[in-house]
């Protein structure tokens, strides 16, 4: 894509764009964006994974499109342009899922459409794609969606395991036979508040490991 560039495609700076959001720049736990969907699709692992992949496709491609158009987008209507690009991408992804991955599209149902409202996507377009070249924008899109997906998968793992006693739909708790000893699934884990508390615990854990994330007073 950027052959004239002297900078190698995967320079240290570019790799940082992809790995940063997995840790110190995580969109959910550090920037606290995209909480709404982290709460909605994390009851089971499977929808969470598909959601993460869909967000990755939408974010990476939207980032590239906006970045390629960044010099011709009038500043006064840039938010609308970003919304149009995101909405178009989401509709196309939704149509493709309906045609080629029907089961998955049924599982995600309305949440695919709600990718449009995911603040991470608009946040990255506004903060990164508008000011950078397409290749770094693409990597930034990948990185941020991985950071988002990572948290989604962690949260959904705990919610499905403790709430439904299964992992990826496989009834682990039942196979281990713990129900015979009076164990019961914690129905509270299935309810939305527990998603927030789980995210909160992850934030707590991350900040206790990395003091630089704690704001100075």
């Amino acid at each position: 894509m950027e052959k004239i560039e002297k900078e190698p495609l995967l320079s240290a700076k570019n790799i940082k764009l992809m790995t940063g959001p997995l840790g110190d720049q995580n969109p959910i736990t550090v920037q606290v964006l995209g909480i709404c969907s982290a709460l909605a699709v994390t009851v089971k692992m499977k929808p969470a994974i598909v959601m993460a992949i869909s967000v990755m496709v939408v974010l990476a491609i939207s980032n590239v499109i906006i970045s390629a158009m960044r010099k011709s987008i009038p500043g006064r209507i840039r938010i609308i342009v970003q919304l149009v690009v995101i909405a178009t991408m989401v509709i196309i992804v939704d149509q493709f899922l309906k045609a080629f991955a029907f089961d998955v599209s049924k599982q995600l149902s309305v949440f695919v459409g709600l990718i449009i409202t995911n603040c991470i996507i608009m946040g990255r377009l506004e903060a990164f794609a508008l000011a950078n070249k397409p290749w770094p924008a693409f990597l930034d899109g990948l990185g941020n969606s991985w950071g988002y997906g990572l948290i989604l998968i962690i949260v959904s793992f705990f919610r499905e395991f403790l709430g439904s006693g299964s992992i990826m739909g496989f009834p682990v708790m039942e196979k281990m036979g713990v129900y015979n000893f009076g164990y019961e699934d914690n129905g509270f884990m299935i309810l939305p508040p527990m998603a927030l508390i789980t995210v909160g615990l992850i934030i707590w854990f991350q900040r206790s490991r990395n003091k630089s994330l704690i704001e100075t007073k």
Binding site: V41, V43, K44, P47, K71, S72, I73, P74, G75, R76, I77, R78, I80, V81, V84, T88, I91, I92, Q95, F96, K98, A99, F100, F102, K106, Q107, S109, V110, L130, E160, G163, S164, G187, I190, L191
Partner: protein, 233 residues
């Protein structure tokens, strides 16, 4: 960022909107046949699963042709209506019509052992979106031989559990009639009596979906009452 003239902004917006519109219409048009085929295959899979035949996307069409021998449409008086394809009847559209004008589809399956089962489609309201299902009855028009349910977007882990086997299999051998009176099957909160032929366990945390399903069964099947009475064997 440069400052652009109003003229530029106007032209930019028009070009953007028109090209996006063309792109989306093209995508929708090109993918439509595939999407419709998916919906049709899924419906066939659902109908098959109500008579306890497991099918995949690949063999659903062939299995459907093998087991479903007849499909027709009746009215609430139990008479057959000619010229309507039972498979393409949309129950949602039918529910909006006055009761006597509604077309009620019936699918007849002949099983490997020669038994006949009758399949009745249902549609109702869940908590968020529509729910639907198929109930297969034995020739006594009362005993449930199998049931399958699905939903558009019930809460995952709660109401969405209606389309899982543990829930659906509870309906097996329940009966719709008690001493010749139509009583349907109730979805009970807090544990149904196993021996009770008219009750199944509801889903904890999914009470509204469970109640919607109960109403769907009662309201959907009661329309066939005349047909049940005429064809009971």
């Amino acid at each position: 960022m440069k400052d652009f003239s109003n003229r530029y902004i106007f032209i930019f917006s028009v070009v953007m909107v028109v090209s996006v519109a063309i792109l989306l219409s093209l995508t929708a048009l090109l993918l439509q046949p595939r999407q419709e085929k998916n919906v049709e295959t899924e419906k066939k899979m659902n109908i098959l699963s109500s008579i306890n035949i497991t099918s995949t996307k690949v063999d659903a069409v062939a299995l459907y042709d093998r087991y479903i021998r007849e499909s027709f449409v009746i009215n609430t008086g139990g008479q057959r209506i000619q010229g309507v394809d039972a498979f393409s009847v949309s129950l949602r559209a039918e529910h909006k019509k006055p009761l006597e004008q509604q077309s009620l589809p019936v699918f007849t399956a002949v099983m490997d052992n020669g038994d006949t089962q009758h399949i009745y489609p249902l549609e109702g309201k869940g908590l968020w979106w529509p729910i639907w299902g198929y109930v297969a009855l034995r020739p006594d028009m009362s005993t449930i031989a199998g049931a399958t349910f699905d939903h558009k977007g019930e809460t995952p882990g709660l109401g969405a559990e209606i389309n899982t086997t543990p829930f659906e299999s509870q309906f097996l051998d329940k009966s719709l009639y008690e001493d010749g009176r139509f009583v349907s099957v109730a979805v009970v909160k807090g544990g149904a009596e196993k021996s009770d032929r008219h009750e199944v366990d509801g889903i904890s945390g999914g009470t509204i979906t469970s109640k919607g399903l109960e109403a769907m069964l009662r309201e959907g099947l009661v329309k066939y009452e005349k047909y049940f009475d005429d064809n009971r064997r």
